[in-house]
Amino acid sequence: MTAEPSTMGMLDRYAEHAGADAIEQLRQLAGLLTGLKVVHVNSTRRGGGVAEILETMVPLMQALGLDASWEVIEGNEDFFACTKSFHNTLQGKMLDISPSLLRAYEEVNAANAERLRPVLKAADIVIIHDPQPAPLLSHCPERRGKWIWRCHIDLSHPYRPVWKYLRRFLLDYDASIFSLDAFAQPMPHPVYLIPPSIDPLTEKNLPLDPATARRVLEEFSIDPERPVLLQISRFDRFKDPLGVIQAYRLAKEFVPSLQLVLAGGSAADDPEGQTVVMDVRESAEGDPDIHVLSSGHYSDQTINSLQTGADIVLQKSLREGFGLTVTEAMWKGKPVIGGNTGGIRLQLVNHETGFLVDTPEGAALRIRYLLAERSRIGQIGEKAREFVRQNFLRTRHLREYMTLMVALTHGNADRIELG
């Protein structure tokens, strides 16, 4: 397959961020996989982290000569109610799912298998993302390719009855992929570990003109001349927004000009989230320097502007998946103060790329340190950006997917020497 001129341009654009050597390596590796039929399957074309990854991963694979495609399963209301419950229970919430919802889950998968069977049968590699399409494999007994289950969620403490139900659909896969070793469950096949990534070419992550960032801050009545702390995350107890306010107050005693921005998406369909927003607003009441941005959906450019305009970014989570908001802020050259948990630990190294903290007091200490030693903001931010460039861009993610494909199609030995 010859790459189209436009997609060749795409690889060149990635080279500007990831480095020409990284792209050359991808080309060499892809040479071992030319023409391989790769099918990704998930449950939504737009919205959410998985779709965001596939929007760029699939064209990148095509640009490198793989015959990659992306299929989306179609579901009904009961199906999505069931998979939403999967999402919650697999991450620890104790909730039994009714037999009728489970029946809808299986029926929707059976119907989608009928529709997708020719594509799935012909594929060399099928990558099934998350639990929604997991049973498709059981409807393709005549498959010829290797099937991989890609789990994007934290399965470290699943609600056992639901995990036991779902696991039986996964046993016949050839491999699984988890983001971190701590998120994985034992499987009867190889479990690969591939951390997620950010895309340097999306509007959320492209370099932004400082004037634009400044204008957006002013639109929200944030003073760009004074220090700005920012936490971007949905309003959830595990993100500890009240702890962030406490840390801000402790630091503000020493830095009176300090401002805090807590920004998160709409919580309209999440009653628990709305309670957290109310608690946050109550805690922030009377302080004009705390800006709670909780209404509506913020565009990628707005998020980029807030991150670009902030002096220090916080992600003071008590429990966290990988923490891609940390990665995004680091990519913008910001020092991040993050909770000592989950994938944040993989990204933040004290005094090097940011700070890990266990308490609001710890966060306040690091805020004061950075604002007292302003030169450290730039130094740590620069190191953080380089760390992301080397490790957490989409190109590294793609390299690991292709390595896995080579491993699976060459017998899965410990050492594979080719050409």
């Binding site: 390596q25 071992l32 070793d181 690969y192 948990t341 390299r399 390595t403 020497e417 080719l418 050409g419």
Partner: protein, 230 residues
């Protein structure tokens, strides 16, 4: 003169599904864990996403420091140089010995927090030929900065446990070319493979090759050698 064949490699990390929460559990697992885990936790760490200016140079030592807060153990594990062992089984034996010694001298059992357990992993390494060849050492000056970090890993790190003697591929090639390359071989050997990222190692190697192998410096070395011979 044999050409230098530039190869590249990539790693895929596989969770072994075994964990340790105490030093004793770590020791017990080391007795029968897949040898690939030993390789991965010593060497593979350089090619996976993590911060590279590390305090300790292998995962076992890092965990003893961050997970168990046993710095004496961390320091003793960190001093183990994997390149000095004939194979991974010998290295495994040394690890167990060092941990056993520590277990004999401590009276309390140190636990890591549940979310700080040691997770064993191993790697699949895929090596492929870039079909690029160097026929003269001077070409290293231009070629090394263009190499991927996978190539640096393969030729500078992986080579130490792949070659009959624990030496990197660059030094092995240069030594085989004659005494005029002995000095550059020695300078390459001085680049420490353990504490820097592969990006920094590539930079260091580039500096060494530029210093010794760029045309003027090589002419100078040849003259010196001729004088010595005379």
């Amino acid at each position: 003169m044999l050409d230098f064949a530039i190869k590249d490699c990539v790693l895929a990390m596989i969770a072994e599904g075994r964990r340790a929460q105490t030093l004793r559990e770590l020791r017990d697992a080391l007795r029968d864990i897949h040898p690939g885990c030993i390789y991965h936790h010593f060497w593979g760490t350089l090619l996976r996403p993590q911060f590279s200016d590390r305090e300790f140079n292998n995962d076992f030592a890092t965990w003893c420091h961050h997970g168990l807060h046993d710095d004496a153990m961390a320091e003793r594990l960190a001093v183990i140089d994997p390149a000095h062992f004939v194979d991974l089984e010998e290295l495994r034996h040394e690890l167990i010995e060092v941990i056993d010694e520590r277990l004999d001298e401590i009276e309390t059992v140190l636990f890591a927090r549940a979310d700080r357990q040691f997770h064993f992993a191993r790697s699949v390494i895929v090596v492929f030929d870039t079909h690029k060849r160097l026929s003269h050492p001077q070409e290293l000056v231009e070629a090394v900065p263009q190499m991927s970090v996978g190539s640096i890993f393969y030729h500078f790190i992986d080579a130490r446990q792949r070659n009959p003697v624990p030496v990197d591929d660059f030094s092995a090639w240069l030594v085989g070319l004659g005494p005029e390359y002995a000095a550059v071989g020695e300078s390459v050997a001085e680049v420490d493979p353990y504490f820097e990222s592969l990006f920094v190692i590539r930079q260091r190697l580039t500096e060494v090759f530029s210093q010794h192998l760029s045309r003027p410096s090589q002419e100078k070395a040849s003259r010196r050698l001729e004088e010595q011979m005379a």
